[in-house]
Every structure is written in C-alpha cells, then in structure tokens.
Subunit: 228 residues, 2 copies
C-alpha cells in the first residue's frame, strides 16, 4: 500500500497531466505546496517503484501503473464526496477536505459499500467523473456556459472550479448540478450572461460563466453504459 503522502503525489501528478501536456517538478511542488527539493526526492522514489518515468531535467510522466493507482485514489475521493453529500447531508462545499483524508483509508470493502449504497454513481457532487474499478476515467461532459448563445437551454453538468468560495457563491445564486438554465442574453461588451433557471434570473460575469460546464442532456445514468 502506498502511504498517504505517495497517494497525494500520484493524485497531483494525474491532475496536472490532465491540465497540461507536460508536467514539471515545479508544477508538482506548487500543486502540493512542498519545496522543489522535496518533490525532487519524491519523484526519485516514485520512479524506483515503477510509478513514474523519470530522466533528469526531463518532464515527468506517470507509468501505466502509476496512473492506475492515482485514478483509484481519485475514485475513493469522489465516491466519498458523493457519499457525504447524498447519504450524510453535507453541502458540496464542505466535503473536499474530508474526502482528502478518507481517500487514504485502506479498505476496499468500505468503498465498495459506498459505491453500492450510492448505486454506482458516475459523477461526484461537483460533476467530476468517478473513475471505475479498473482506474478508467471517463471524459467530463459539457462545454462552458460562456460559449452558449442566447436562446440556448442547457443543463449544468459540472464545474471547472470547486473551491469552497465558488461553491458558496453558487449556493447563494441557487445554482446546483442538473439545473436547467436558459440563456437569456449575453453582453458582448464584457461577456456577462443573463440566465434563467429554477424560477430565478441572474446575471453572471464572464469569469463565472467560464467555470460552469453545461450540456443539452442530463449526464449518463448509473448503469455503466458508455455515452458520448
């Protein structure tokens, strides 16, 4: 079993490799809030364990094994977040720090039970996909709301940003996943959008609309069929 520290490094490497084409030690150290020498010494150990391909001064790349282990930690994290929200009544803005810890629990049975009680969900409370038991990660669904045109009717399927502040802001606006949103207007001057949803009408600055992922269909149902 990998230590919590190693699991966090693997997760960070996976997240970074999905954001950029090439991942550096600086990226990693910034992502985890550790010094570059700390990241440097850890990547050597990960490489020794066959979890990372590494040559001095070259970009970092997870091996297939490393990628899989990282995805399985993400699976535990997102199942936990879903469980906390759906079964324990937490708000979506509260669950990340708890899941950050519970993801390191070594108990396949615990996470299997969560999965079963939740009906094998495909997405976490923030709309991010939950990797399957083999570590496969399905693509996220949706495009930015900021790219929609007046008249479009879409469904909120995910968030580009899940910071507590942003989530609390959405709470105040009454915006939740699966909300049906009609685009009323877009201000060409600053890109802000007027939207109608759930009996409300609000104006979102472009920066906010950029963070909201929307689609014209509800997300895939639980029974693991491939969409998209």
């Amino acid at each position: 079993m990998a230590s919590p520290t190693v699991e966090n490094y693997l997760k960070a490497l996976l997240a970074l490799s999905r954001q950029r084409d090439t991942v550096s030690i600086s990226d990693l150290s910034a992502e985890l809030g550790v010094s570059k020498p700390s990241a440097n010494s850890m990547i050597k150990r990960l490489a020794e364990q066959g979890l990372l391909e590494y040559e001095r001064y070259r970009p970092l790349r997870l091996t297939e094994e490393g990628r899989k282990q990282a995805a399985l930690v993400v699976r535990k994290h997102r199942l936990t977040e879903m469980y906390l929200v759906e079964k324990m009544g937490f708000g979506w803005e509260e669950v990340h720090p708890i899941a950050e810890q519970i993801e390191h629990i070594d108990s396949p049975a615990l996470f299997e039970r969560m999965d079963q009680l939740l009906g094998s969900p495909d997405f976490d409370p923030h709309g991010s996909p939950i990797p399957d038991r083999q570590g496969n990660i399905s693509a996220r669904i949706g495009q930015r709301l900021s790219g929609c045109e007046p008249g479009d009717v879409v469904i909120l399927t995910g968030l580009e940003n899940s910071s507590p502040d942003f989530l609390r802001y959405l709470n105040e606006k009454g915006l939740r996943l699966d909300a049906v949103i009609k685009v009323a207007a877009r201000e060409s001057y600053d890109g802000s959008m007027r939207i109608i949803y759930g009996g409300r009408e609000e104006t979102l600055p472009k920066g906010t609309a950029d963070q909201l992922l929307v689609a014209t269909q509800l997300r895939a149902p639980a029974s693991g069929t491939s969409t998209r």
Copy 2:
C-alpha cells in the same frame, strides 16, 4: 492535532489503565506491538506535551488532558463502528479495522453528523460505551453470563472480547446484542452453561460465558428515543 501514532498510544494507555491498576512500558509496548525502546521514547514525548505523568522507572499515568484526548479518539472509533453497522450494513465482526483508521480523521463535523444520524447512541456495536463529547466514559453495563444461575433471564449487553473470531462464532450461534437469554442449566463440573434464546438452545463452554456480559434490563436508551 495529535498524529495517528500519538492517538494510538493514548488510546492504548487509556485501555490499559482500565484493565490494570498500574501500567508499565512493557504493557504498552506489548499492546501496540512496538519495541520497548520505541514505547520508551514515545512516553517521553507524551510527557513533554503534558499528556502523561512520567518519572523514570515509575508506572505510567495519563494526565487529565491525555485521558480526555484518548477518550475523544475512542469516541470517534466507536461512533464509526456504530455508523458502519447501522447505516452501511457491515457486520460487527468487520468494523474494527476500518474504525481503527477512520478514528484518526480530523473532522469534528463528520463525527457530529454520524452521532446525529445515529441518534446519539450510548454504546457501540459490541456493547462498549461511547464516550461523550467531553470525554466522559460511562460504566459498562452487565455482569458475566458465567455468573448467572439457572432460571435467570438476562439480556446480552456487551462483550469482553471483540475479536473477529469470537464475533464470527457468536454469529454462528445466532447470538446478538440485546438477545434475551434464559439460563437453562449450568454444569458444575466444567462450568458450561445451557442457554435458550431466540428460539435456540445451545451449550456454551465456561470460557465463552465468561466473555458475555448480561443484565436484567436493556441498556440505557439514547437521549429520548429507544433504538430498535
């Protein structure tokens, strides 16, 4: 926040001090499965932190602060076990190793939520008392079944032994907490007891009857409402 290691030491010290009048470093090292020098160096650190009173060659004694911190870890452990059994469908023989990990999660909100969803239970799935939020531990209820007389009708309220093997053995016998047990006979030769409960009749060796705690009343109900 204490590290998981420190929390485990505190818990072991509390458990030992409830078993014996005086706790030694040898006891502690045996309980935790670490070497005596390891225990020795840890107690020095605990003493520095004001969690333990310690003089060379003298018995160990938790301070009030140490006792409280230990009890609060036990609270997290037992709430978790209860949650896993009552809300997630685990068997009482499966939950200890999971709770041994989850007890170290730093999230008051998580355990408050468990407590609330469970209706503030007083006992864990093995009949052990759940310390309150101030770290007070109520007395366990019941005497050994082996001390009962033929004709006595009692209720199973707790276990002296919660090892997985013993719990599985009780599963096979269909013995569960709150079972109503009638003592049919006791063999004076070897102390084995014939008991009747839940439509079954079984003979328990004295060693087993020693591990079962029974009372003539149901255990204290959770604040207000009674559980099943």
